[in-house]
């Protein structure tokens, strides 16, 4: 089974889309993209190598950011992301891989100017998630 972070990240994007969370951007967001949207920053994997004779699996951390004009606009996306990614006690498929641990590990909210010198603002809700994928 593939455990490299780019592959798992593709599975995560497919999973989010299947959950109705859209649009999700994993690279650079187009400048003309209207909010609300979700941005998935590149993730990082740490591999578990406790087993004496095989690869165990990996733990992957991602940061997702929900961007919107105001709190009302991003609320539905926040609820959907929490429902999709904070699933204590559940084993389920994320794309083509199966996770045994998927939980939100932290979040922050901040307000920024939409453009330098502009009068409108953007709300950015950032959420970190840990996904553990083990060899079956």
């Amino acid at each position: 089974m593939r455990l490299d972070t780019p592959y798992i990240q593709r599975q995560l994007i497919a999973y989010l889309k299947a959950q109705g969370i859209t649009p999700v951007f994993s690279g650079i967001v187009p400048e003309n993209q209207k909010p609300p949207f979700v941005h998935l920053a590149d993730g990082a994997g740490t591999f578990v190598n406790d087993d004496l004779t095989a690869m165990d699996g990996g733990e992957f951390d991602w940061t997702l950011t929900v961007v919107g004009k105001n709190h009302d606009q991003i609320d539905a996306l926040i609820i959907a992301l929490w429902a999709a990614l904070n699933r204590p006690g559940e084993y389920f498929d994320i794309g083509a891989v199966r996770t045994c641990y998927c939980r939100v590990t932290g979040d922050t909210v901040s307000t920024t100017q939409e453009q330098d010198g502009g009068e409108s603002s953007l709300i950015e809700y950032q959420l970190t998630v840990r996904i553990r994928i083990m060899e079956e």
Partner: protein, 141 residues
């Protein structure tokens, strides 16, 4: 071999009987081979001037082998109390350890964000499945 560093990565353990040749147990995260215990018998008497002196007992006692296995590999471990031959193969053809004994399943650990594991104790009985005295053999390359 002399002076070479040897990592535990690659060590395998399997169990066989006269009729069943077992496969390596999967999902093993740690193996500890017990040492040998020999009684020390004091033989000092009035002729000893400064130090107590001891002789070694004639019979050796092999200590338990313990290992930790992930819960998914637990089904391959022999049933508790059934006499089997255990073979531990050290990595890089460094050697083997062969002993007769029986398994006892210990506590199962379930922790958040951690593999579930079970601690197994293999008690060395030094009797093969014909009932003959058969001590453990550690062979190093």
């Amino acid at each position: 071999m002399a002076g070479q560093t040897l990592d535990g990565n690659g060590t395998t353990i399997k169990f066989t009987t006269a009729t069943v040749a077992g496969d390596n147990i999967t999902g093993v995260t740690e193996i500890k081979i017990g040492g040998v215990e020999i009684d020390k018998i004091e033989d000092s008497d009035l002729s000893n001037a400064a130090w107590k002196t001891y002789i070694a007992g004639a019979l050796k006692d092999a200590q338990d082998l313990t290992f930790t296995v992930k819960i998914k590999g637990l089904g391959d471990v022999p049933a508790d109390g059934v006499t089997t031959m255990c073979t531990v193969t050290l990595p890089d053809s460094a050697g083997t350890y062969v002993a007769w004994g029986f398994c006892k399943r210990g506590e199962i650990s379930a922790q958040n964000n951690t593999d579930m594991t079970c601690a197994i104790t293999f008690t060395i009985c030094n009797l093969n499945d014909d009932g003959d005295e058969t001590g453990p053999v550690l062979t190093l390359a």
